[in-house]
Structure formats: structure tokens, C-alpha cells
């Protein structure tokens, strides 16, 4: 697959560097990601792939002694936004840029409540709308058939792969413009992995996807472009 050159840029970073205390993980990164595409981020373990994704929803900010230099922008509703602008609403940013973590992290509540949680946060309370959204999101993540009869069970009773799809469904409920996926198929067998890959290809129509993956064949199948984080992470002391 080749990159569709006509797509506009959706996400970009300018001279981005990142430090955990003295550990310099991301070094002067300036990249651009086109919209409606899947961009794979690859590199050896510990190179800062997960860290890189957290730049775009500012999730690293609660980590003590973490520090960022440079700038990061995303285009939301066709307007460029500096992610680190003081005036930006953090909840709003995070609803526009959904994230799925490396290890599935269902909240300690029922399956239904997990999926409807983002709706509750953004003030959608009309029961029918919520029900429809939950069903739609679960169907999108190919989980509906497996859980439709046990929506009130604790989400933590699901298998690892089901939890992973639950987290994907949960990230999809708010129709994010950007999806940040940290090895979303690492807990899945080949069959479910295939399902998720199909899902990502269909989501590409509406979303810009950043995908961390260790599987080269997966990247070859679905990614439009590849960004490699590699090399000399050093200890600047």
C-alpha cells in the first residue's frame, strides 16, 4: 500500500524531545502524519514508542520529573491546535484523541458501564442514545456477539483479548478524530488480530491512526507509512 499524497497533514511535531528525569528518550523529532491513514511506529523495546503516543494526549504530564521540549500540533475540526497551549481543554483534547493502552485496562465496573463511561463523562445521559452507542461501539470492535448477554458482568472477568477489544470499543464511543493504539493486538490470537486489523482499515476512513506494533507482517498489511524510533538513547548526565 502506498501513501495517499493528497491527504492533508493531521498531526505534526516540531523538534520534539522528551526526558524522564535525566533519561533522554525522544530526540529532536519532527514528523508529520497525514489524516485518514494508519502510521505505524516501530522500534526496539524501550525506545520511547509508548512515550511518543502520550505526547498527543498529554498523558505523561502526571509523571514526576518528566519533561518535554519542542512542540506538537493536531488539526481538530480543520483548525490547527497546539496541544500544549494553555487555553486548550484537556478533557476535550483527550476525547478527540482516543488511546488504547499496551495492557488492557478495563475499569472496575460492568462491561456496559465501561463502554458508556466516556459518554457519561461528556454528558450524554439519554438512555436510548447511550444504549445505541454502546451497541455500535461493541459491534465495531467485533465484541458484541460475545458479550451481548452479559453486559452487566464485571469487565475484568473477560479474557485478555476480549478486554483489549473492550478498550478499543471504549475508545471508539466518542468518535475520536485520532486513535493512538499501543500494540492493540499483542494480547490477541491470530484470528482476533485479523479482526482488529480489518477494524482499523475500516476506521481509517474517519480516523487518523497512530499504531505501535512489533509485527512486521501486520505493518506490511495495514500501515500506510512507518516511522522508526531507533538508535542511541543515552543518559545525559
Amino acid at each position: 500500500m502506498t501513501e495517499n499524497k493528497s491527504n492533508e497533514i493531521k498531526i505534526k511535531t516540531v523538534n520534539l524531545s522528551f526526558y524522564y528525569n535525566r533519561l533522554h528518550v525522544l530526540k529532536d523529532i519532527s514528523v508529520e502524519f497525514p489524516e485518514r491513514s494508519i502510521s505505524a511506529i516501530v522500534g526496539p523495546s524501550g525506545q520511547g514508542k509508548s512515550t511518543f503516543l502520550m505526547i498527543f494526549n498529554r498523558l505523561w504530564e502526571t509523571i514526576p520529573d518528566a519533561r518535554m521540549e519542542g512542540e506538537a500540533f493536531i488539526r481538530l475540526k480543520n483548525k490547527w491546535v497546539n496541544i500544549y497551549d494553555r487555553s486548550i481543554s484537556l478533557p476535550e483534547l483527550r476525547r478527540s484523541a482516543g488511546m488504547v493502552f499496551q495492557t488492557p485496562n478495563p475499569l472496575p465496573m460492568s462491561i456496559f458501564k465501561n463502554i458508556s463511561f466516556p459518554l457519561k463523562l461528556s454528558g450524554v445521559i439519554e438512555k436510548q442514545a447511550v444504549d445505541e452507542k454502546v451497541e455500535f461501539a461493541l459491534k465495531q470492535a467485533f465484541l458484541w456477539e460475545e458479550v451481548k448477554d452479559r453486559l452487566s458482568d464485571d469487565a475484568r472477568s473477560l479474557s485478555g483479548g476480549q478486554q483489549q477489544r473492550l478498550c478499543i470499543a471504549r475508545a471508539l464511543t466518542l468518535d475520536p478524530e485520532i486513535l493512538l493504539l499501543d500494540e492493540p493486538t499483542s494480547f490477541l490470537d491470530a484470528g482476533s488480530g485479523q479482526i482488529i486489523e480489518d477494524l482499523l482499515l475500516s476506521l481509517k476512513e474517519s480516523c487518523t491512526i497512530l499504531l505501535i506494533s512489533h509485527y512486521m507482517d501486520q505493518i506490511r498489511r495495514i500501515a500506510d507509512r512507518v516511522m522508526e524510533l531507533s538508535g542511541d538513547t543515552s543518559n545525559n548526565s
Binding site: L59, P91, N105, L107, P108, C167
Partner: protein, 284 residues
Amino acid sequence: MKRECFAETGFLGAAVLSASLTALILIFMLFLGFPLFRGGCFFTLLTTPWNPDKGLFGIYPMLAGTLSIVFLSLCWAFPLSLGASALISVIAPTGFAKFCKKTVQMLTGIPTVIYGFVGVFLLVPFIREMFASGSGMSILSASLMLSMVISPTMILIFTDTFESIPASYSAAADALGASPVQKLLYVILPYSRQGIFAGLILSVGRAMGDTLIALMLAGNAVAVPGSILDSARTLTAHIALVIAADFDSIEFKTIFAAGLVLYVFTTSLILLVRIIGGMGMKNR
């Protein structure tokens, strides 16, 4: 090897000693209070008023005094502590939160008698002026000051509970765009139910066991209080006052009844905390 053995025996000895002390205290009180049980008047004591002139030595007024002061102090301290710990562990920016926590930790170290002092010289006159009633030594004054005494510990317990929430829950809520208050309401509080309850019960035990505040601020009148502006005497204050006065009278016997009631109350509270703690382990 030898050192390990030595330490092991030492720890075992310390554990046995403290456990047997607890049991010994109970036996001691049962022994000294035995005349009360033999006469079958232990339970009558709990329900009758105190009127030495008529030969009535019931501790019912003190029981009522203790319960009302403890209950009221929790009414002040619980919301305050919950709010303060929410501020410290969720809402306030890191620097300010650290400062608040340090302050609270410092407060736990202030001797109770200092709080009593402050109460006598600041709170009591204020209550007296404000409500224009009596001396100002009342259930209200004592419970307000007592809530100051128990709050710091309660805040630290709640803060610990809030901060023990698994990082994955916290990250999930954050990444879905929960504001700090939403995260508190929908994720942290439900998760912390048991910790909050345990902290609450431990505070009840502390409030009940506190002697000085009630002694200095509640007025120590031996009558069943009718309103929160009335003066009252707690079980602990009663024990302190009687012990200071005489050594061999029927009055003196009643302090064993008072002691036993306190002992039973606090022990059952601790047991309750244990049971809740056990349930918490299973649920997570």
C-alpha cells in the same frame, strides 16, 4: 544465623507481650468490676441516671454524652476530611497538594491538650457569645474541637486510600477525558468505599477514646443532654474525674462499668475494621 534467631525471638516476645497486655487489661477490669456483675446491676447501671443523693449511680448520662459528642464530631470531621483528601490527592496541583499533606501530617503530631487549650480560650467564648447560652462549655464546643483532633488522621487514611488506586484505572479515566472531579466521583470514590469506611470507624474509636477534649470543653455536667448547647460528661471524662476524686466508694465502682463499655466498643470497632479489610482483599 544467630542474629536472625535473636531477632525472631525478640519480635515474638514483643508480639506475645502486647497481645497478653490487651487480654490482661480486660481481665483486670472484669475482676475489679466483678461486684457489679454479681449484683446483676451492670446493665441497670447502663440505663439508669446518676443521682448520688438518691443512691443512683447509673452511667446512662455519660453514655449519652459520649455518643452525642462522638456522633456530632464525626458529622463535622467526615465531610471535612473527605474534601481535604480529595483536594490533596486529586484536585490540587502537585506542589500545593504536597504542602497540604505536610501540614496535615504536622497536625497529627500536636498534643491533644493544645487543642483543648485553643478550645477553652477561643472556641468556648465564641460559642458563648454566639448562642448567648450558659458557659459555652457544651457538646457543640467539644465536638467541634474533637473533630479538629480526629480530622488529620482521617485525612491521611483517606489520602492513602485514594492514592492506592491502581495506575491503570487512573490512566484509563484520564485518557477518556475525565476531569479530576469526574475521576474522583466515578472511579476513585467507588474504589475507595472500604478504605473510607475503615477510616471512619477508626476515627469513631479515636473520638470515643479521647478524654481531654471533652473534659476541658464539654462542661462535665452529669445529666442527659437535651440539646447540643447543653453541657455533658463523657465516659472517659467520668473516669478521669472520679479517679481524681476518691478511691473507695460506689461511685468508684462505676468507672469499671464505664471502662468496660469503652473497651467493648473500641474492640468491636477494630474487629469490624478487620472484617471490612478482609472483604476488601476478596473483592479486588
